[in-house]
Point group: C2
Chain length 228, copies 2
DNA sequence: GGCTAGGATGACCGCGTGGTCATTGACCGG
DNA sequence: CCGGTCAATGACCACGCGGTCATCCTAGCC
């Protein structure tokens, strides 16, 4: 989570790491809590305890600052995805999925602000980014999921008659909503997902896997269970 | 889509229906395209071609106006849900689901602005509503889905070992993302969901049903298909 | 000590916001 | 024809925004 060495003006990059960090953290906090448009440079200035003039010498515009913050958040997200992929590379598909969600919860716990920025980014359409950039962002996670599915399919772990791209999109949507509900009070707080304890999270992961693995339909040859 | 008779001040409610409609439509357009915070009363005034003073005599504050618009959008959404429920009441569960999505696409086609407001509302957290109200909104659709699932379960159409509330939440998340991607350019436009033609939409509905019905796992006793 | 280079500073600018209110003028009953 | 009622109006207000810039301050050098 160190401040990116690429962001900001030459002056900003020449600051001591401590000061860079201080300014960057202030920006992250502000954008995470208010989104792009409602975040205020005045507010960043207050949080970082620097003067307004300095901030605008470090980043030419509000959008420059936001770009820097987003760049950093994306690096962190990509790292986390890569790490999960590597750590689970030999595992069965549905175990990988479980680990992926768990890692998502973990990411939110350790980088709550970055998580907020990332999810806000891909969901709100309220950012200063154009359509092209947004599509690219969505592709990042969709293609990650599609890769996992392709892997599993080539290993014969899942059905082969699935449309991989579409299923990847859907499964990804499911995961993203799950993660979002994990840190959002008003989505599923009655169901123990928002700040749920370990048992709750286990139940959610289990239900997710069950749904994605076997679906809701009754097995063709029902074995032990029956209706009314 | 007529302007709600409950919203606004006494003066607003005493206007001719035409004028009420004109003002209300302007507000809907503004809120749909910019969300709550970035919508501007000045803009509404210009669109509706009335004076600013008048608008504030019709609605005391920006939030009052937004409340009125949201109230109307919710009435419309509830109507659509009720209608789908009634029209499909005797049908098999997965057929109902298909119809539900189709109706969702239809709703977006016929009420694109209201759809935007509704989805923005339940997803952004950027509204002036408190947590309680937001939870209530989510419950609206989650419980609707849970009811459908309970129905199906009591008829023996689906597995009985599912956690209904959690599955309802997940399936609902899936549907909402699907609908959102249907009118959002930057989500899945490479996959033919955004403004897709009938064939594309059919494919999406089919994939959705397939995933939710049977899951991704290989059938225990594989019949005709095999890996590599 | 005097000089200079360049980072730090906050008063300031123009603008758009949500919201107000004195004035206007159309309408109506006597 | 008058007086009263009340909706319509837009100039106006305070505020917070992103962004600028003349000024200040200090570290380094001779």
């Amino acid at each position: 989570m160190s401040s990116s060495p690429l962001a900001g003006t030459r002056l900003f990059r020449s600051l001591t790491p401590e000061k860079r960090e201080k300014v960057f953290k202030a920006a992250v906090r502000e954008f995470a809590s208010k989104g792009y448009r409602n975040a205020s440079m005045n507010s960043v200035v207050k949080i970082a305890r620097i003067s307004k003039g300095s901030l605008f010498q470090y980043f030419r515009t509000k959008q420059d600052l936001f770009d820097g913050v987003v760049e950093m958040a994306l690096i962190e997200v990509k790292n986390y995805l890569r790490q999960v992929r590597e750590e689970t590379s030999g595992m069965p598909f549905f175990d990988r999925m479980a680990r992926l969600i768990r890692a998502g919860f973990g990411f939110i716990d350790t980088h709550p602000l970055l998580a907020r920025i990332y999810f806000h980014l891909i969901q709100s359409g309220e950012t200063p980014f154009g359509v092209e950039r947004m599509l690219q962002l969505h592709k990042l996670s969709d293609e990650f999921m599609a890769d996992l599915i392709h892997d599993a399919m080539s290993r014969g772990e899942i059905r082969e008659d699935l449309d991989v791209e579409r299923v990847a999109f859907l499964v990804n949507a499911l995961m993203e909503t799950l993660l979002r509900a994990y840190y959002t009070e008003f989505m599923a707080s009655g169901l123990g997902l928002y700040r749920g304890d370990e048992a709750d999270l286990d139940a959610w992961v289990a239900t997710f896997l069950e749904l994605v693995h076997r679906g809701m339909g009754r097995p063709k040859e029902a074995i032990g269970q029956s209706a009314t």
